[in-house]
């Protein structure tokens, strides 16, 4: 690509935040031709730039004096939702990774040293998405520590506000999905007892009038506690499906079209991580909340980059944090449904080769599933 071919006004705006001047130098030299480049040596400076300029992509180091990268990015998320956020850090500590998911909702989590090619490709993709995909409306972030909010979700179905608050959708964006206004009333009352089977009983399905697609939650966990906490948070206002294996997950996704997947990545890590990534690849509107017993930096980073997980919750699940996360996930999912272009923002790195075969086999079903979803 030749720098002169791109008009200055059309060049994507890229902001680097790093307290190491030499990194900034290197980045400047690397990207100055393609991007309108902004450099900041600390968080406050970066936020000033974000406030003034319509930044497309921000790349931040995590370990910086006064304000960490996660903090900077989570503020950017609120200030400028359309800015695609990337964390680039020399040492991935657990808090950084968890914060980058739950607070900053980063697009990618990159670790130093990062191959120049990968860095370049990632930033280019981010810039492209920032330009092409509409801006999301920020949902409530999951801050560290106990939450003071209630333990149950409050379903807000006034979906019309979604597009108004957010940035203007791209012209190419599909028209918002028609939604039944009556679903609000329907969902006022707890109507859906916890469901253990992947597939809801036939009469229950029949008795659920005009339930919009994607308003269920599928829980993929062998841990009853996870299911219980989710059920408690939902309080019967939405159907909760419990899947015990991948086949059930896919069956449930096909038949019930839930919008949120709560997946337990504690066990059979490889398969479930792979499944999570592949699901996101095929069903970008599906919002994933990962729960796990362990906090493994590498696994979490993988889930960010390949699975675009929306939240990461540690077991044992806190009712409050689970409720907030579910609420945000449902809101986010509705945005994605309304505006499928938005889902581009969650484009994932293609799943690594060597997926467990079972995932491949099962997920082949998903190929045609995408189309079903908006109907």
């Amino acid at each position: 690509m030749h720098a002169h071919a791109v008009q200055e006004a059309h060049r994507p705006r890229l902001l680097f935040v790093d307290d190491e001047q030499r990194v900034l130098n290197s980045m400047r030299i690397m990207f100055r031709r393609q991007f309108e480049l902004f450099l900041a040596s600390h968080g406050a400076e970066a936020l000033d730039i974000v406030r003034d300029k319509d930044i497309d992509v921000i790349v931040a180091d995590h370990r910086m004096p006064k304000m960490t990268g996660v903090e900077v990015l989570s503020k950017v998320r609120a200030m400028s939702p359309r800015t695609v956020r990337i964390l680039l850090t020399g040492y991935a500590d657990l808090d950084a990774v968890e914060g980058s998911i739950n607070e900053s909702e980063v697009f990618r989590f990159l670790t130093k040293p990062c191959a120049p090619q990968q860095l370049r490709e990632t930033i280019e993709l981010a810039a492209k998405l920032a330009r092409e995909a509409p801006a999301p409306v920020p949902t409530e972030a999951l801050l560290p520590g106990e939450t003071t909010s209630g333990d149950t979700i409050e379903i807000i179905l006034e979906s019309d506000t979604v597009t108004e608050v957010g940035g203007p959708p791209a012209p190419a964006a599909a028209p918002p999905v028609q939604r039944s206004t009556s679903s609000t009333a329907v969902l006022e009352q707890p109507k859906f007892p916890p469901q253990r089977a992947a597939a809801a009983p036939a009469q229950a399905a029949a008795a659920r009038p005009k339930l919009a697609t994607g308003l269920g939650i599928v829980v993929f966990s062998m841990d009853n506690e996870v299911v219980d906490v989710v059920n408690k948070a939902v309080r019967g206002r939405l159907p909760v499906y419990n899947a015990g294996n991948i086949v059930q997950v896919v069956k449930c996704l096909t038949e019930q079209k839930p919008g949120v997947l709560v997946t337990d990545v504690s066990e059979d890590k490889a398969t479930i991580q792979s499944m999570t990534a592949r699901l996101k690849e095929h069903l970008p509107q599906l919002v994933t909340i990962a729960v796990s017993q362990h906090r493994d930096v590498l696994d979490m980073v993988w889930l960010i980059n390949h699975g675009q997980i929306f939240r990461f919750l540690r077991k044992p699940l806190s009712a409050g944090r689970t409720a907030i996360s579910l609420q945000a996930a449902l809101q986010h999912h509705r945005q994605l449904l309304k505006n499928p272009e938005l889902a581009k923002r969650h484009e994932v790195d293609a799943a690594a080769a060597g997926d467990p075969g079972v995932v491949d086999g099962v997920l082949s079903k998903l190929k045609g599933l995408k189309r079903l979803w908006n109907n």
Partner: protein
């Protein structure tokens, strides 16, 4: 004890009762039975003999004959009867009153019998005399009278005659005869007796008359008396009394036997019951014993198991302790590595980037150089004419100029300069880091060495830079202090730990002040003060304890400060901690300048620093 006494007394009582019942039920001796059987016959026979005697005497009296031998034989038999009852009859089990009654009856009987036999003897004697007198009168009376007549004693003979006849009539039970007239005659004739001419038998005759007159009423009354003597009745009473006594005794024996039987049954039952109880108890004891044995055995097993388990646990604990100490080392190592890896990865990032960029820039420079070389290597000789040569040269120069547009090449050169400068600086940083790691660990140095404390702190701060730099600014107040003898790697670890803690105690931005000075003539003090959250007073005493931690579970093992304390104490130093909640803490390490006779072998072995060499 009390129960045993009661049981003993009960057993004695039972035995006493058994003995008394056995005595009670003892059979009567055979003599008693024999006596009982013979006494009735004896008494009856006696009674019969006695009655026959009386009859004989009365018959003899009626015939005025002497009683004769039959009477004497009967009397002999009566008197020959045993006088006493066998003593065994009295000693039969019986009441004293019965015995007294029996003895009484015997007394009565014996006295009656005695009287009767005495009377009978008298009667026999009297009757004999009487019969002799009568027979004299009958046989000799006429002769006497004849003699009197012969002697002419008429009156006497008449009187005598009258007397003899009258007497015989009297004797013949003629009731009309008056004994009084005969008595007068007898008196009259008695006076005549003195007459010399009286026959010789005359006085015998008078005596006989006298005997008859006198004995007849006597015998009659005696016979009546004898007949009235209640020998039979007394004998019968005696027999009855003996019989009663015997019956009573037998009855009592029978009853005693019955009681004994019942008692024996009761005793047997009791014994059986006790035996049953004993057997049950025995069974229980047996079972308990068996259970005990089993328990004992299983207990042994369990003790053995438990011992194995415990020794296993102990081994595990020791293992865990080692692992925990190791974990703490690894944990501080982890923090260190976190910082260091960031410190290393950042230069690495831009070094790799820079190298790539330099390569890219060099490519465009190479294109330019190639173009230049191409342009300048165009030689006039190669062209037919100058115009062609010029055209080629201008063309080549145009290519070069195209490459020179937008000042890209100058920019590229500038960038290459920048990038190489940064890269060299980055390499310098990495080198410095590697050097400080080496200095910090001192693995290539002697374990005990002279150590410049201020320099050590500098190295430590370099290592801890990434941990500290975002949290606090460092204020250094180094004093002029001599080098100390110590294990530099351990003391560096102490500094690192305290500095890291200080940084972690700070929320937001703060200050860490490091002061070194002489503490006294022999010791130096290193004070590390932070403006962090401080330590609550209740934790101050526990803060050196192993495993005490206020950090979130999983982030600290709580061994850090205990290891620090241990290192300092192994250096004969002191760790002083002052803290105020909300204001901050001061950790002061006091170390001797000259190491007292060191226990070198423990140093550097148990508390060695994590091997940074390997980690890095």
């Amino acid at each position: 004890m009390k129960r045993a006494v009661i049981a003993f007394v009960l057993a004695l009582a039972a035995l006493a009762l058994l003995i008394s019942l056995a005595l009670e039920s003892r059979s009567l001796p055979v003599e008693t039975h024999v006596a009982q059987y013979t006494i009735a016959g004896d008494l009856q026979r006696l009674d019969e003999d006695f009655k026959a005697l009386v009859d004989t005497l009365e018959a003899a009296w009626m015939e005025q004959a002497p009683p004769g031998e039959g009477a004497r034989a009967l009397l002999g038999r009566v008197t020959a009867q045993p006088r006493q009852l066998p003593e065994s009859l009295f000693t039969m089990q019986g009441s004293a009153s019965q015995e007294a009654r029996l003895r009484n009856s015997q007394e009565t009987f014996l006295s009656a019998l005695g009287q009767a036999t005495a009377l009978a003897e008298e009667i026999i004697a009297d009757q004999t005399a009487y019969a002799a007198a009568v027979s004299f009168l009958r046989e000799s009376g006429a002769a006497v009278i004849q003699e009197l007549r012969d002697s002419r004693l008429d009156r006497q003979s008449a009187d005598t005659f009258q007397l003899v006849v009258g007497t015989l009539d009297f004797a013949g039970k003629d009731a009309s005869v008056r004994a009084g007239a005969l008595d007068r005659l007898l008196v009259t004739l008695g006076r005549d007796q003195r007459v010399d001419s009286m026959p010789a038998d005359f006085s015998v005759l008078l005596d006989s008359v006298g005997t008859i007159l006198k004995n007849k009423p006597l015998i009659e009354s005696k016979l009546k008396q004898l007949d009235a003597t209640p020998v039979g009745e007394h004998a019968a009473a005696l027999g009855t009394a003996a019989q009663d006594m015997y019956t009573n005794a037998v009855t009592r024996i029978e009853r005693a036997r019955l009681m004994l039987s019942v008692y024996a049954v009761v005793l047997l039952l009791s014994v059986g019951f006790i035996a049953l109880r004993l057997q049950r108890t025995y069974h229980q004891i047996n079972r308990a014993n068996a259970e005990l044995a089993v328990l004992n055995e299983s207990l042994e097993h369990r003790v053995a198991d438990r011992t194995t388990e415990l020794s296993g646990t102990l081994a595990d604990l020791k293992e865990s302790q080692v692992q925990l100490v190791q974990a703490e080392k690894m944990s501080s190592l982890g923090q260190l590595v976190a910082g260091i890896s960031h410190e290393i990865n950042t230069p690495l990032l831009y070094l790799a980037n820079n190298a790539e960029l330099i390569r890219e820039r060099l490519e465009s420079l190479r294109d330019f150089v190639t173009a230049c070389v191409g342009a300048f290597s165009i030689k006039a000789d190669d062209f037919a004419d100058r115009a062609a040569y010029q055209a080629a040269f201008v063309g080549a120069l145009r290519d070069v100029k195209i490459l020179l547009r937008d000042n890209e090449l100058e920019a590229a050169i500038e960038e290459i300069q920048d990038l190489t400068r940064d890269s060299i600086a980055g390499l310098g940083e990495l080198t410095e880091m590697a050097q400080s790691l080496k200095d910090f660990s001192r693995l290539d140095r002697a374990p005990i060495a002279s150590f410049d404390v201020n320099a050590g702190i500098e190295k430590t701060l370099l290592i801890a830079k990434n941990i500290v730099k975002h949290k606090a600014s460092i204020i250094k107040q180094y004093g002029d202090i001599p080098e100390i003898q110590c294990s530099p790697s351990q003391i560096n670890q102490v500094f690192l730990n305290i500095v890291t803690n200080a940084a972690q105690a700070i929320e937001g931005q703060g200050e860490i002040t490091i002061t070194t000075k002489l503490y006294d003539a022999d010791r130096v003090a290193i004070a590390i003060a932070d403006t962090g959250c401080g330590i609550p007073e209740e934790n101050l005493s526990k803060i050196r304890d192993p495993f005490f931690t206020t950090k979130e579970v999983g982030t600290g093992t709580g061994l850090g400060l205990s290891i620090v304390d241990e290192i300092i104490r192994s250096h004969f130093g002191e760790l002083l901690i002052e803290s105020e909640v909300g204001k901050g803490s001061v950790f002061t390490v006091v170390l001797p300048i000259k190491r007292p006779e060191p226990a070198e072998q423990t140093l550097g072995e148990t508390l060695d620093l994590p091997e940074l060499k390997e980690a890095v």
